[in-house]
Every structure is written in C-alpha cells, then in structure tokens.
C-alpha cells in the first residue's frame, strides 16, 4: 500500500458531508467534574488554610479517589445491559436508585441477605440462558443461589418461596424438568419451598422461564459476618476452582465454536459454611478475639462478577488492601484455556458453588482444613491476604512476577449467566 500520508486536524472538504457537531454529554461531564473539583479544592483550602501540594501524580490520584468515592450517579436515561452485569454500572444503579429509595439500616450494608435478629432474609432472580446446561439448569440454580446467599450470612437455610414468570408456549415438559431439579436441590439443601407465584406473559415477552426465589434462614451464632469486618493480616480463601459456572454457560450458548469438558459448579454451600464456622469457633479457645467479630470475618459467594468483584466490595467496605497471589488461585485448566482464548480474566467469571472466606490469620489453617475435609471444598486455597495500604484496592502478584490492580469490571465479560 502507499507510503504517502498527510495529516490534518480538520477534515478535508467533502470528507464530512454532514458538517460538524459536538458531543453535548461529554462537554457537560467535563464541566460538572471541573465544578465538583473546584468545590473540593475550596473546602480543602478552608480546612487546611493552604493548598496541600504532594507530587503532581499523587494529586491526580487523590483527585481520582475522591471522584470514585463520590456519590453514585446515573448518567444514562435508560437501563442498559451493563446495569445487569455486576460491575460498576450495577453498583451505581443499586446505590443511586434502589438504596436511595429504600434506605434503611438493614439494607445499607448491601450484603447477600439481610440479618433481622436471628433471621436472615434474601431474594434472587434467575434469567439464565440456556435454561439447561451441563451440570445443572435454572431450577437448581434458583434454589442453590438463594440457599447460598443465606449461608453467606452464616444462617441455616429453612424456607424458600418461588415465583415463576412463564412465556406463553413454554413446554410443560420443560417446566416439569425444572421443578423436578428444584425439588431435588431443595431436598439436598434441607429446605422446603413453602409458597410461590405464577405469571404467564405473551409469546416473545420472556425467554421461556424466569424464576425468583426468596429464602429465610436461622442464625445460630452471635457474631455477625460482615464485609466491613476484615482487618490487615486476614487470610483470603476460595473454596475451590473459580469460574466454572460462567464459562460453562458461555460455551453452552454455542456462539463460540469452542468445546471443553466443563460443568457448572452450582451447589448448595450451607453445609460447607456450617463446618467452616464451627471449626473456627472451636479453634477460638485461645486469647479473646475482638468482641465485635469472630475469626471468620466475612463469607461471600462469588457469583456475578466473580471473585474479583467480591474482593473489591470487601476491600472497599473494610478499607483494607487485598493482595492476591495468582499462582495460588485454583483454576480448572479448561477454564484457563477458554479464558486465554477469549481474553477474559477468570477472576471475573461467575461461580455458583464457590465462596470467598476471609479469616483471621491465626485461624487460616483451621479454616482451610475444615473446607478441604468437605467434598465441595476439597480444592480450597488461601489466595491472598488483607493489608492496610492502599485502602480499598485489590492487587494481584502475577504468575510472571509482576503486579497489577484488579478493579471492579466496567463492561460485561459474559452473556447472562444466572
């Protein structure tokens, strides 16, 4: 091809038949950010009496952290798919719309469920496509998902509700298959499905079947688990190889022309969490621990957004850093291979039967042994530690010996997966 090139900053005549325009939204964003920054600077000057001047890069980084900590704001006029992807857009939607409207002390922690006295309450909706996939279907996913949310509160799951939105024309045989696997999953988890609801919408208004479950569990320990309870030095544990559910769904959709022997990891985790909590309580006979929290600081199931999203939420809530060791993170070879091919980081891929546990350093071994003694935790591993600086940041020591930041995801790495 040619090597003669000229470059101009303005278009050539005839090149842009439609003339010029401005991106108004961008100009507005620039103006608003400048105004906000000026206000913050004025406040800082008033407070300190002078302008605090660290290095220019540090100033910029401070400015960015302020912008990140600022109140969540939605710029879009319409809901987009990004709002459901579990990353930054989802957080913004939840904080700017739902929390803003419903604000109360039980909701504010934004945990997997709400703890009310000795009860835990949670709800979850399931819109997975395809409805049936290797290792499970929307039915057991809907039961396990809610059972796990209760388990992550430290509760014993007791009763579930199930709401169905069905599309006109959906085969009854498929519905029976789904309810059969829900029944089996409920039996395995020791819960009853005690109430429900059914709606049918016109053909084309839903993808066959959507399910919403809610669940109630009972708490049998005094110390609350909380994403705010993590302290520097705590160990970060995953209960098994990550990303299997998300990658299974992605491959099952058949859009990628990739094949791998993968099955979803969907499983109820209540028994695993019960063993973990009791093992750590038993090991807790030494010096008294901080009164507010036990040795197990926090449990989270790593669903939408994967382990990376959960850890970012914990790091922010507890204002700690979390440093991960890439070599220690268990990943099935087929998941790793598919992630390499697709350019996806397994840390962001959803699991439906894996959890993250943050445990006091002196209980890490007891916790790990308890998890590994259970079939669902046989490949559990300590993948990192909490530190004090930089607060709110998740870092990864790469296999290659470098370091990088593991931030909340902005876009959607995957199609709908739960």
């Amino acid at each position: 091809m040619t090597t003669e090139h000229t470059r101009t900053t303005t278009p050539e005549p005839g090149e842009q038949p439609g003339g010029e325009a401005t991106a108004l939204w961008a100009e507005t964003a620039v103006r608003e950010a400048a105004a906000q920054e000026a206000t913050v600077q004025e406040a800082a000057v008033r407070e300190a009496g002078h302008l605090h001047r660290p290095s220019r890069e540090d100033q910029v980084l401070e400015r960015i952290e302020r912008a990140r900590r600022g109140k969540a704001r939605i710029r879009e006029d319409l809901v987009t798919l990004a709002h459901g992807a579990g990353g930054k857009a989802t957080h913004t939607l939840i904080e700017a719309v739902f929390l803003e409207s419903f604000r109360n002390p039980l909701l504010e922690p934004l945990g997997d469920g709400a703890v009310i006295g000795d009860l835990a309450l949670t709800t979850d909706s399931f819109v997975v496509k395809p409805l049936f996939f290797p290792g499970g279907d929307i039915g057991d996913l809907a039961v396990n998902g809610t059972v796990n949310d209760l388990a992550m509160c430290g509760a014993t799951p007791r009763y579930l509700s199930a709401g169905f939105i069905l599309e006109e024309g959906f085969p009854i045989a498929d519905l029976r298959r789904i309810t059969a696997s829900m029944a089996a999953a409920a039996q395995a988890a020791g819960v009853w499905i005690v109430t429900g609801d059914t709606k049918v919408v016109e053909n084309g208004k839903a993808d066959g079947c959507y399910i919403t479950t809610a669940g109630v569990g009972t708490l049998n320990r005094n110390t609350a688990l909380s994403a705010t309870a993590v302290t520097p030095g705590d160990a970060v544990i995953v209960s098994g190889p990550i990303g299997e559910h998300g990658m299974t769904i992605m491959l099952a959709r058949g859009e990628l022309d990739l094949e791998a022997h993968l099955t979803s990891d969907t499983a109820p985790l209540h028994d695993l969490t019960a063993r973990l909590l009791s093992a750590c309580d038993r090991a807790d006979d030494g010096p008294a621990h901080g009164a507010a929290h036990g040795a197990v600081r926090c449990l989270r199931d790593a669903t939408r957004g994967g382990v990376a999203t959960v850890l970012n939420e914990i790091a922010t809530a507890s204002q700690v850093s979390i440093v991960l060791d890439e070599n220690a993170i268990p990943v099935h070879p087929a998941v790793r291979g598919a992630c390499e091919l697709l350019g996806i980081d397994p840390l962001y891929v959803a699991c439906e039967g894996r959890m993250v546990a943050v445990v006091a350093a002196d209980h890490a071994d007891a916790a790990l042994n308890a998890l590994r003694a259970h079939p669902l935790g046989s490949d559990a591993a300590i993948i990192g530690r909490a530190g004090d600086d930089p607060p709110g940041l998740v870092l990864l020591k790469t296999c290659f010996g470098g370091t990088r930041i593991v931030d909340l995801l902005v876009g959607d790495p995957l199609p709908r997966i739960c």
């Binding site: 091809m1 000229t6 401005t22 290659f400 470098g402």
Partner: protein, 375 residues
C-alpha cells in the same frame, strides 16, 4: 497450555531485567512505544513494568482498533442500526463506546436490534437465518481483521446472500505510525511493532521507520517474555547506535507478510482518500472502504449515513497521550470527567486504551503498590 508457559517464565524475565538494566546509559531516559493495544494488555495483565529499568517508559500507541473510531462514525453506525428491519452486528468491545449521542448499548436500550458477534461469519449466519432483515456488520480493526471481513463478503457473494452488508471502518497501521513520527512534539526512541498486524503485512512496511526516521522497531508477540525480549532488542540497538527492523516473532510473522490475506483484502477493499482517527485527526490513505464492485455489500452506499463529524471535547488530550507527550494522568479530565464507565476520549474507551489500562491496572504509584505486595 504448555506452549504458553514457555513464554511466561519468571526466571527468564529476571535475567532479561538485569540485561536490560545493563544496557541503559546512566542519566538517559528511554521512551518506547508499543503500537498495538494487545501489547498494552499484556504489559498490564502480567505487570511487566516491574521488570523494566526505571529509565525505560512505555508509551501506549494508537493500535487499539476500538479506540480510534471517531464519534461521528459511531453515530453513523447507530443511525444505520435504527433503520427499519436492520440487525446491526458488532464485536463486544464496541458495545460501550460512546458516540456523539450515546453507545450501541444505549441505542439497543432504545429499541435498536444490535447483536454481539465473535466474528463476521457469525453476522453472515444471522443474515442467513433472517432473510427478511438487513444485517449489517460493524467492521473495525487493522490489517489483522480486514481479511476475515473481506472473506465474509466473498462468502456472501458465493452463497448469494443479499441481505448482508459491511459498515467498513478498517484502518491501516503504517499511516498512524507515520502521523506520530511526523508530529513536532514527538519524544520516542523506538517502537515495539505489532504482532498480529505484521502477520498480515510482514515487516517490510516498517523499514522507513528505521531508515528515514532512525528509530529501531522490533516486531513481537503477545506473551510477556515476547514483549520483554522486544524491549531488550530495542535497547541493544540503541546501545549499539543501530536502527533496524527486527522480527522477534518469526514463529508467527513472515518477513514478507501473508500474500494471500493481502490479496483477499485488495479484492474487496481499497484505500480511502481520508479517514478521521480519534485523537490523531484526519490521515490520508489510512483506512479501507469497499470497492465499487462490492457496492451491494457496502452499508455506506446502501444506507444514507449522516456523516457528521463529532469533535472530542477540547479538555480531552488523547492526541498528546497517544503521541507520548503526556502520561495518561497528566490529561486534565483523566479519572474525573473521563473514566472507564463514562469514557470521553479515545484512550479511555477500550480496556486496551492507554488511559483505561493505566486507570485499571496502574492507577497507584509504583512505590505504594510495591510496598503493599512486599509484605
């Protein structure tokens, strides 16, 4: 994945780090540009900067195909997507890119039928399955992806599929590099040449960079050791006072390129007189359009596109960042008005863009990060 592990050995990386440090002349700073967004991704994913001597700075170049599409072109694509009976198809990383009036995702929320595909052949499949719809493929990318777009058009012709067309935004890498080399405020010492693009065009087209502009260029692959070896080879050339084009990626890149792929491109596409690049301005002969012969598959001719140029806001300094004059954090709007969630400039748009990569993976000063990971 053994073939990958071979290029991810931390021991070899440490050895290279020591050799690179020995090649740096005391007191001299080295600014090298990795042209390709794929390299930027590798650098951050594996934390390669930890192995580089302090004197070496990597500048992230214009080689992210998503980032270089100007806002006006995206508005044109959305206009096409909003026409009756149209299914617009696009790679996933294009979905969030904002134009003058929002992104594909926003247009989809307003009701346009925009679908994510993984290759142009997927788009052709959708055309086959929906004979009453007009299926348009939003074609983006350098010489890397242009052959598969061209192949798909040829396939559509052979199969007699008439409801498929391409909105062609393919760009060519050499004019962009030349535009950067010609800018008066340039401060670059050498280039890490793109791997996938070179597998198509070969290494010869870069020779003017070494001969006319006196800058070393090393073509390399996307594994972490590939990138470190390329930096080592550039530093070696600089230490020896040489400027040559070297091929570190001979396992994939033939010196003369892939004649078959180039031939397929030229059967279906030809150079445009001008094309606007986000952040770089209008560059002559820097992009491809469909030829007259394939007008029936050219969305630009089938649909009346508005063709409105949308200027980036003045506060946005992407051009300077792309040329290596400014670091991402030195831009006035970096991290406040312009973030990965609401990108304003080209460099923040895709995760391979220089600013997005810095924001996601390198936002904290190296000292603080090193201190945190040491404990």
């Amino acid at each position: 994945m053994r073939f990958v592990d071979e290029y991810r050995d931390a021991g070899q990386a440490r050895a290279l780090a020591a050799q690179m440090a020995a090649l740096c002349r005391p007191g001299r700073a080295y600014k090298l540009m990795e042209v390709c967004g794929g390299h930027t991704h590798t650098i951050y994913k594996h934390g390669l900067e930890d192995y580089l001597p302090d004197a070496v700075t990597l500048i992230h170049g214009p080689g992210c195909p998503v980032c270089v599409i100007p806002m006006g072109r995206l508005d044109d694509a959305i206009h096409i997507a909003e026409q009756p009976d149209v299914i617009m198809t696009s790679f996933g990383d294009m979905m969030r890119v904002p134009g003058g009036r929002g992104s594909f995702l926003d247009a989809k929320a307003r009701g346009a039928d925009i679908r994510m595909v993984y290759s142009p052949l997927d788009a052709l499949k959708i055309a086959r399955q929906n004979p009453r719809k007009r299926v348009v493929f939003m074609a983006i990318g350098f010489e890397t992806t242009a052959p598969s777009t061209a192949m798909t058009v040829l396939r559509a012709e052979t199969e007699g599929i008439h409801n498929f067309s391409v909105f062609c935004n393919h760009v060519t890498i050499i004019p962009a590099i030349k535009a950067i080399l010609d800018s008066p405020d340039l401060h670059l010492d050498g280039f890490i040449g793109p791997g996938h693009v070179s597998a198509v065009i070969g290494c010869r087209p870069y020779e003017f960079i070494a001969h006319t502009y006196g800058k070393p260029l090393v073509v390399t692959g996307f594994e972490p050791l590939d990138v470190l070896r390329a930096v080592y080879q550039i530093l070696t050339q600089l230490a020896e006072g040489r400027s040559q084009v070297e091929n570190q990626y001979a396992r994939v890149v033939p010196w003369n390129g892939n004649a078959k792929a180039l031939n397929v491109i030229s059967r279906v596409m030809e150079l445009r007189p001008y094309f606007e690049w986000r952040g770089l301005g209008s560059i002559s002969h820097s992009a491809l359009k469909m030829t007259e012969k394939y007008a029936a598959y050219d969305a630009e001719r089938i649909f009346q596109i508005p063709g409105v140029r949308v200027a980036d806001p003045k506060a946005c300094q992407c051009g300077e960042v792309l040329k290596g004059v400014l670091k991402p954090w030195e831009c006035k709007v970096f991290g406040t008005a312009c973030t990965p969630e609401t990108p304003i400039g080209t460099c923040m748009v895709s995760s391979e863009g220089a600013c997005a990569a810095y924001y996601n993976f390198g936002r904290f000063s190296r000292e603080r990060v090193k201190e945190a990971t040491r404990r």
